[in-house]
Symmetry: C2
Subunit: 552 residues, 2 copies
Amino acid sequence: MNDESKQRLRVADPNAQPLRTLPPVSETFPNSSRVLEGELGVPFREIQLAGGEDPMRVYDTTGPQGCDPRGGLPRGRAPWIERRLADRPANLSQMHFARRGVVTEEMRFCAIREGVEPEFVRSEVAAGRAIIPANIRHVELEPMIIGRKFLVKVNANIGNSAVGSSIEEEVEKLQWAIRWGADTVMDLSTGKNIHATREWILRNAPVPIGTVPIYQALEKVKGRVEQLDINIYMETLEEQAEQGVDYFTIHAGVRLAHIPLTARRVTGIVSRGGSIMAKWCLHHHRENFLHTEFERICELMKKYDISFSLGDGLRPGCIADANDEAQFAELRTLGELTRIAWSHDVQVMIEGPGHVPMHKIEENMRLELELCHEAPFYTLGPLTTDIAPGYDHITSAIGAAMIGSFGCAMLCYVTPKEHLGLPDKDDVRDGVIAYKIAAHAADLAKGHPGAQKRDDALSKARFEFRWHDQVNLAPAPVRARQFTDQTLPAEGAKLAHFCSMCGPHFCSMKLTADVRALGQDTVAEGMAEKAAEFQRQGGELYVPLASTEPTP
Amino acid sequence: MNDESKQRLRVADPNAQPLRTLPPVSETFPNSSRVLEGELGVPFREIQLAGGEDPMRVYDTTGPQGCDPRGGLPRGRAPWIERRLADRPANLSQMHFARRGVVTEEMRFCAIREGVEPEFVRSEVAAGRAIIPANIRHVELEPMIIGRKFLVKVNANIGNSAVGSSIEEEVEKLQWAIRWGADTVMDLSTGKNIHATREWILRNAPVPIGTVPIYQALEKVKGRVEQLDINIYMETLEEQAEQGVDYFTIHAGVRLAHIPLTARRVTGIVSRGGSIMAKWCLHHHRENFLHTEFERICELMKKYDISFSLGDGLRPGCIADANDEAQFAELRTLGELTRIAWSHDVQVMIEGPGHVPMHKIEENMRLELELCHEAPFYTLGPLTTDIAPGYDHITSAIGAAMIGSFGCAMLCYVTPKEHLGLPDKDDVRDGVIAYKIAAHAADLAKGHPGAQKRDDALSKARFEFRWHDQVNLAPAPVRARQFTDQTLPAEGAKLAHFCSMCGPHFCSMKLTADVRALGQDTVAEGMAEKAAEFQRQGGELYVPLASTEPTP
């Protein structure tokens, strides 16, 4: 953390009241511990299993624990950056290094996290097919990579608004979101204390932080859209860049000529940034200044290595508006801007919808790859129907899993409160988990090496009646355990060799174990002999098995 | 209800204590009422909307309200059946009538529910591509149709087990499941009072009821699998047929030769019925008696018009086992059995997996259509990953939506408690709603006529800030309303012209309304003029709109 930031952090909390604290991660994930691999200290969560099974290592986003949020996280990247700055380079982007054949520490870090070779990471970043969002000022970051040949990632949104929440709550929301597996977090704050909130979040964020700078720029002109201009905007970018924001959503693709294409839509423009820029364009009857001044923005991005998240300001907000002319006209513009950013070696990802029925999802992915030259796609859902407010984490997890399987690199989560209110802790957890499920389902479908290991470990635990292992391998072990306790409260039941849903006499896994023990060699040894042997071994159908799980 | 059943119903509850009652349907769905269309009284739920919008009619499964469960529902089908029985026909199946060109009352009823022509229903039933599960003894039934050219349907499982729940609770679960939209319900009871439980359920069921008769047959031989035989089984079928069960899951496809194919699986045989039959086959070293005596079963089915739900006893129970030789060998057998059932004019649907990664789902649907001659497919999920116990309604809603979009006709729900415990009321609600979402997303993807009406109505309400309409069109309006109340508690906020997620200054819908009001004719009238006009109309960005929703 630079001194100025430290100063701001102190100012943000002059009374230094202790924060509310979340329960320790070890309580959220029993039998798990954070392990660091190699000299770079790449984090994994290791889950201890019973039954002689090897521990299971899973991707970990929770970050270092036990730090006082007022002091921030350890500044692990600082020495890497300092060494690079010694050369006084004009361009610090990972893409710039990658294209010159340099494998950075960030690339090596990502390679270990993903289980691939560092050279593969470098080549994907060089080609623009993947990005490592990593502002040189965000030295607390544990680097991660976004690209369709890597694990599908999940973003969670936090941020105060005019209606609710405090700074402390926002930091807690960050920690809560990454506990459940959010790979990046967007701070969408729009209210007061926007600068201080962001400072707190960044200094406590082991994951990349994204923002939508137009929100703060609009605050600076007191909400008067027409008073926005490139100078106010650049000043805002500079301020956020200095703090360490890793990627900016910039709605440079909303062009004046696109706006009439939204006139017949059922829900018009549903992107906040998109509607702000549309209003500006109409007011001045001029081209979007984010579009006309795009190269000036690129100059700033490369100094800090901030990645573009090119906003889809004209994304559809309902099923009726999906895949329309407005949406695809903007996507074409985003492809043109991608080329410009890449000419500066600035990293780019492309934001996507929104609301799309299932049969129109694949076209989105195909056109994005084609028009945006394989830059990583980052979609909000998409929601596959509009009819289910209160359950939009599910309407959208369906679309997210599908577009992930087609090649979408990152999925922006949707909580059950979407369209209705601001998410609370349970909503954030349920939103992140729904999206981790979608991302993992997509990884399986893409055949990501190693993705199936956790499925196999969990299914084996289930088949062997290792109830504690099944629960500890689940996304929310405490909740899973509460569920089993409601039906089988006694500890003895955790050793039970039947599934609580069926009861002891109708447990297929129990029956299969019997069938298998007695019949699995039937082909080789002859069916009739085995049948006779089965009968000789006694009339009891439900022979107790030797326990495969020690008492915990 | 015949006299014997009535007698049993009385015996089941000698003390005649009043049942716990659910809140009235009108509380669950504010501004909605049940309306009956035409002389057959086909039910719909009509949702009143504000803003001058026509009321929205949606498919309704809740059944007649206000009946004492001890007396059962009105016996609306009784006269139809009595007329048919006057001819003393040997075969009462809908398929039999359909193939002779007869359009039954049940077919006309389904046609009105689906918004199609009765002749289309008849031809689909005649071809075996759709079924109307409707036992002649289930006279309380409101007929419905299962087939891939109709709306995708959802089944909910209920049933006591050795571990929990009472008869009263099971009836309440039935009513609860159909309130949220379950199209059929399976009674999977295995414990005591199995006959009386089923009687209560049937007499109170406006939806088809399915069972797995092998469970009761096994109770009759006190759990000793090897003592099962076709006579005990037929006696069980006859008993359940007389009560009015509409479809039977029968695991006739688990053949002796298939069992060794499961030996290397991670989770073996996960179907309860499948594992029972596998054990029987191995014990006796004989072919499955459900397979060898299949035609005898057909003779009974056609007398009552009970539909086969041919069980997938060898369905995969984990990702590792998906689409394996055992699964597809059984599917081939089910196709052979379908031909035999159809030679008796007995209706058939085919059960399917289970656990399948996304990229293997389409193959399931394709092979089912090919091997089973387009008989309707009825799948359990499928779950697209094994890693998320506690959230398997979501892992499986993804797979369910996908297979539904490929042509699966009915989706068997999975609740958040799957693999962990017995579902409670919230779990049943959340399971059914997750599956209604999956089914609806599939209907949209298939382009079912009229499916998008509800999406459009909801999105229009959202865009016009008709908060009450948005909530009343949601799957669980009370929950949706609680969500809005948490963020915007005041009644005045329900009239607010901004979305609570963003606050008044950043509401894209608000901004779009401004943009649209001022800029939608820009192409025709010239951009520059409109921009000037926009400025003339005043500096206020957030012009209040005229309210589109009256105070409730």
